[in-house]
């Protein structure tokens, strides 16, 4: 499923969306950067509370399809402009990680 489609179905607000056609393969939840570096996969949607500059670098290094900021915790304009420059998608959800991950799981499970 494409990132644009996932965003629509899960009511995610696209803060930075360089490529809505990018395929979302699976999801990943963690607030620990080293955990994300070790276990987030290429094409995953990364759900996290972290929203500082290093998240952009980690997203780039892991090749995730995008970063979803949960519980309405949006990053600063500085972080978003770095994300734009690096071509990293950032989306915003009002939901908490548990509920959003549950919905994403159901959405992607049918496809796998």
């Amino acid at each position: 499923m494409t990132l644009g489609e996932v965003a629509k179905r899960l009511e995610l607000k696209g803060l930075v969306l360089p490529d809505p056609g990018r395929q979302v393969r699976w999801g990943f939840c963690s607030d620990l950067l080293s955990d994300a570096l070790a276990h987030a996969g290429e094409g995953d949607l990364w759900l996290t509370h972290q929203r500082h500059l290093n998240v952009v670098a980690v997203a780039k290094l892991t090749g995730v399809a995008g970063v979803v900021c949960v519980r309405g915790l949006a990053p600063s304009p500085e972080v978003l402009s770095r994300a734009r420059a690096e071509g990293v998608a950032f989306l915003l959800s009002r939901q908490d990680t548990f509920e959003l991950a549950g919905r994403l799981f159901r959405l992607l499970q049918g496809e796998a």
Binding site: S34, A38, H52, L53, N54, V58, K60
Partner: protein, 156 residues
């Protein structure tokens, strides 16, 4: 003794202490350079992760240091050196979960104690040399795929 394969690229990245927000720049640049040289995506991915973790550790735990990237035909080498405080027990810092990260860094998602294990896992050769009171040198080597040998410089 056979000669070392010649150096295709060498770059030095200074890493100042405490500049957490700045840290991540070297790994971004390393990725960009390797991709530009046509390194395989898996080599780029591993080198980027090794570089990021090493860079963060220099920024978080030391008085500053530098990273040297050396690309040879058959391998990518990353050398991390810092001005101390040094590591007293190298086996301990290699253990997953061991961390002395301060609370403010943990809130930013550092301090999982998985950085050095991540570096080791993504390297083919990995060595830590340290002298307490002086500093630490880490050498990580990532070998390039056999069928890619001698084809560097071409776009992937």
């Amino acid at each position: 003794m056979p000669a070392e394969p010649s150096i295709l690229l060498r770059r030095v990245f200074p890493v100042p202490p405490d500049a957490i927000e700045e840290a991540g720049k070297a790994s971004t640049e390393v990725r960009r350079l390797l991709r530009g040289m046509g390194a395989e995506p898996e080599v780029v991915r591993r080198a980027g992760i090794v570089c990021f973790e090493g860079e963060m550790n220099i920024a978080l735990y030391t008085k500053g240091g530098r990273i040297v990237l050396v690309v040879r035909e058959d391998r990518v080498e990353l050398l991390f050196s810092d001005r101390g405080p040094g590591i007293a027990d190298i086996d301990l810092v290699k253990q997953p979960g061991y961390s002395t990260a301060p609370d403010w860094a943990r809130e930013l998602g550092f301090g999982a104690g998985m950085g050095i294990p991540n570096m080791e896992k993504n390297s083919d050769e990995f060595h830590i040399f340290s002298r307490v009171g002086q500093g630490t040198v880490i050498r990580a080597t990532i070998y390039r795929r056999r069928d890619d040998l001698g084809r560097s410089g071409k776009e992937a």
